[in-house]
Amino acid sequence: MNTTFNRRTFLKGSAAAATFLPTFNILSQQNGMTIGPKDDDIKVAVIGYGAEGEILCDAAMKIPGVRFTAVCDVWLLRRQLAKGRMRSLGHEVTTYEDYREMLDKEGKNFDAVIIATPDWMHAEHTCACLRAGKHVYCEKEMSNQLAKAKEMVLCQRETGKILQIGHQRRSNPRYMHAFNNVIRKENMLGRVTHAYAQWNRSVAPFLTVKKPIALETLQKYGYENMEQFLNWRWFSKYGGGPMVDLGSHQIDLFFWVWDCQPISVTAIGGNDYYDRQMNDNVMAMYEFKTKEGKINRAYYQVLTTSSRGGFYEQFMGENGSLTISEISARGNTVQREIRAGAPDENAWALYAQKGLVVQPKKTVAREVTTKVAIDARVSAQADGWPLPVDLLKPAHMPHLENFFFAVRKNKPEALNCPALLAYESAVAVLAANDSVAQRKTIYFKPEDFHV
């Protein structure tokens, strides 16, 4: 007895679409997916249905009022995957190999475009869509070339359309609570003088595929071969290596927390393990000058030969530190500094009462002894106060929701990561690779961040 739901059997058995749609709506609602087409749906196309495009579209399809109508990818297999998966979730799409043909033929059928192509094509795709009157959600990094990232900012300004860049932590409720409430509004950490972030990954070979795209097709779209197409982040023509791929997310957070720009970056790194074009490890130190004229420093590390410690960010203040990660199990606490003069546990209990943190069941008491002289330079281990906020949706979903809200309300000011904001962090991230290449400190001028 087959009690499972077979969508094609069901489709074949449906006498009319009128029967299908309401039934599908019920099934869709049960699965937390979007419901059937409505007149006020935001119609969406995607350019680039690779792994990232797939993640974004899966998340976007869960947002009520979002309806996909077109998909563009140079790889037939990915177009087939997108079409089939979207159909199975109630979205009928037309697929295209070339984005220009999609804009020409299908442009009237969508309002917004999600762009998840390799970095080197972001500016071309974004500007073409903005000029065609579409709103755009473009994956980070804006580009592997700063001039192209600037072009995107200018194009957004020229067209007045909405352009969100995919630094999705900017819309993550855990990060928003930690940065906006814990650090800024309530100043729980005191002055945050230092930050540290890392993204360490294990050794991994290049991606391969047993049935590649025809070389003629790849070269038509500017890729030398399948290896470069699949592993584009490691080739300077298409991407910026792990520093740009991973660092862009985390270095953006330094800007968010301190609300200012860096004055310098000093980075070392290299292509020391793999025989690849881009740096496989980078260690970068940034100096940020606050609006009050204070200097804060941040250290960033990306490794691709060891996953030790994984990926997380730390913000260290005089009264406490925040450890946070997009995966909450890897970082979701505030640690109280235990030293003379720092706010005591009772003071922090008030923060817990306000809902800023959760009071731990057992906290570390300040070490006291009458027999041994404690070195005043050594403080007791800080205790962890968990953040009370969790993200129960896919990681990219809140950022997409923020984008579609801005589109629906036609409110660019509602965006959590508009183009100019993302441009500022792109300046800092791309400069780290320059610092490695030139083996010297790169100094920024305020105008470097202006467009």
Binding site: G84, S88, L207, P394
Partner: protein
């Protein structure tokens, strides 16, 4: 040869047969290369097994001479028109993960069914859904039967549907994170012709995927 002698010979023979039948060896599963890519996702799911932190699973003992009996066998599915890939991928012997080596079935509860050709002794199985990233497939159920419609004589040999959301009964097995190791499990000499694997989406999306399934056993 008198009756007493015959009886003793028969008894001795049955003891030898039983001893041979009980001879066991450790199941050896040939693993594909590991292939995790991209950013790990926050996996939130109930009923997940404890992290093994690199520790291998307990070895599976199977009768001596147990072999892969599923390679090349015909595969059918609740979703006869997969979104990408082919049902034949499930038993083609290729366990490597890449964008072209798995079959994707639609959302909700879906199954694939392997026809072993005739009734066989099934001692173990291993399933690789999609091992390109850490994810958990929901309601993984393995059943064996001689009935292709799985109405009569159905034996459930693995079931981690802890809340019976796929309506095949409540299972006691734990959910697990996909890796290149797949999920091997002992079955214990169940006889049957058809082996059915069920799942209900995964922690990354609503879809159901299979890269490879291996059934280990022998002819009767």
């Amino acid at each position: 040869m008198n009756l007493k002698t015959l009886t003793m010979v028969a008894l001795a023979t049955s003891v030898v047969i039983a001893a041979v039948a009980q001879e066991k060896e450790t199941l050896k599963v040939a693993l594909p290369k590991p292939c995790f890519t991209g950013t790990p996702k926050d996996i939130k799911t109930e009923n997940l097994e404890e992290a093994r932190n690199g520790k291998p699973r307990d070895p599976i003992q199977v009768p001596t001479g147990t072999k892969v009996i599923s390679k090349g066998c015909k595969v059918t599915s609740s979703d006869s028109e997969p979104i990408i890939g082919e049902l034949g991928f499930v038993t083609d012997g290729d366990k490597d993960h890449d964008a072209t080596t798995y079959v994707e079935l639609g959302p909700n509860t879906q199954w694939v069914q392997i026809d072993l050709g005739k009734e066989k002794q099934v001692d173990a199985a291993c399933v690789w859904h999609f091992h390109g990233e850490a994810r958990v497939y929901r309601d993984v159920v393995c059943q064996i039967s001689n009935d292709p419609d799985f109405i009569d004589g159905v034996q459930t040999v693995f079931n981690n549907d802890h809340d019976n959301s796929s309506k095949l009964g409540k299972g006691k097995d734990k959910e697990y994170i996909e890796t290149n190791e797949g999920r091997p499990f002992a079955i214990g000499s169940v006889k049957g012709r058809y082996v059915r694997f069920t799942s209900r989406g995964n922690t990354s999306n609503e879809m159901n995927h299979y890269t490879e399934i291996e059934i280990y056993g022998k002819d009767l």
